[in-house]
Symmetry: C2
Subunit: 219 residues, 2 copies
């Protein structure tokens, strides 16, 4: 089986594989908080066990086997986060560290029973999708921020408009992919949206802006 550290490396590679580009050693060393040399060691090991495709100096990508493994770890992490929030009444910002431990518990049966117990959730408390037992990601419901109900929470998953002016404006507001947003209010007059971003900053954006932000609702 995989050690906890191996699982963490594979998970890191998975998360760094946003587009289908190869993942670089330095990128991994950064998220794993270690040196490039250590990463090279581990890449060799993971390659020998055929969890990754590895060509020296060219970065890595997960094999089918590696991706399956990564998705299982992600699945466990997110299911445990749901458990902690839904059943044990943790806040969504308190659960990550504990889930980092729980995700390594080995028992297929346990995780299937947990999944059922939680009602087979499709996303975790942060709005991230939960892969099913086969490692398939659910298709995310996606709506425009302008369509979200008042008090609705969601996670920003993309922008419809890509002009620098728009993106720079979002930057200034502190809104980016992955941001958690909550609609605090909607102005009747012009459909401007009062938002809370990442549970911190409150701001108002115009309807024009809101209808260019794609979000995935969090139940």
């Amino acid at each position: 089986m995989l050690t906890n550290t191996e699982e963490n490396y594979i998970k890191a590679i998975y998360h760094l594989s946003v587009d289908n580009k190869t993942v670089r050693t330095n990128a991994i060393s950064e998220v794993m908080n270690t040196t490039a040399a250590s990463v090279s060691d581990m890449l060799k090991k993971l390659s020998d066990k055929s969890y990754i495709h590895y060509e020296k100096y060219q970065g890595v990508s997960l094999t089918k086997k590696g991706k399956t493994e990564a998705l299982q770890v992600v699945r466990k992490h997110r299911l445990w986060e749901v458990f902690l929030v839904e059943k044990l009444r943790f806040n969504w910002d308190e659960v990550h560290e504990i889930a980092e431990q729980l995700e390594h518990i080995q028992s297929k049966l346990l995780i299937e029973r947990l999944d059922d117990f939680l009602g087979n959730p499709t996303s975790d408390p942060h709005g991230d999708p939960i892969p099913n037992a086969k490692g398939e990601m659910p298709v995310l419901r996606q709506v425009l921020l302008s369509e979200l109900d008042v008090n609705g929470k969601a996670k920003v998953i993309g922008m419809k408009e890509h002009s620098p002016a728009f993106l720079q404006y979002l930057d200034k507001l502190g809104i980016s992919i992955g941001s958690a947003v909550k609609v605090m209010d909607r102005v009747l007059f012009d459909a401007s949206v009062e938002l809370k971003v990442n549970d911190k900053k409150t701001m108002v954006v115009s309807h024009e802006v809101a209808k260019n932000i794609l979000v995935s609702p969090i139940d």
Copy 2:
């Protein structure tokens, strides 16, 4: 903090400390499935960290600190077992291995929330008492086997009669302290009890026998 292995050693010492006698190296090596030499190494380490009282060649006992630590691990183990059986619908004979992993998860808050979520149970699915957050063992409810309801499950915690004849008879039946018993039926005519022991053997014992066996009901 303690490593998982250190926690397991301390727990083993705790379980071996039935009376207040000292625990011998060989006894530990047996339950830990390792050699006496390895145990000696570890005892030195645990002694240096003052989890145990250790005099060479004289066996060990837990210090106050060590006992507290042991009870926390036992508490976690048993609470997780309750969770697995009560919430995830595992059978009581399927939960031990998983609890062996879960008992090492580090988070005070988690275990307190879990305890509340489970309704602050005082015994685990095997009838073993669950220490509270302070490490105090609950006083077990205890009744005579003769008083247990039909379909009631319990754990044997002692005998009232201590004659060799009685104890040898119990031996032959396979009933000892720690045995799980379930009352399958009670004969109206003479109050004989039909029992299932350790989820396996079914047998009939007289009322005279049943009223000399102390048990602790499992809810």
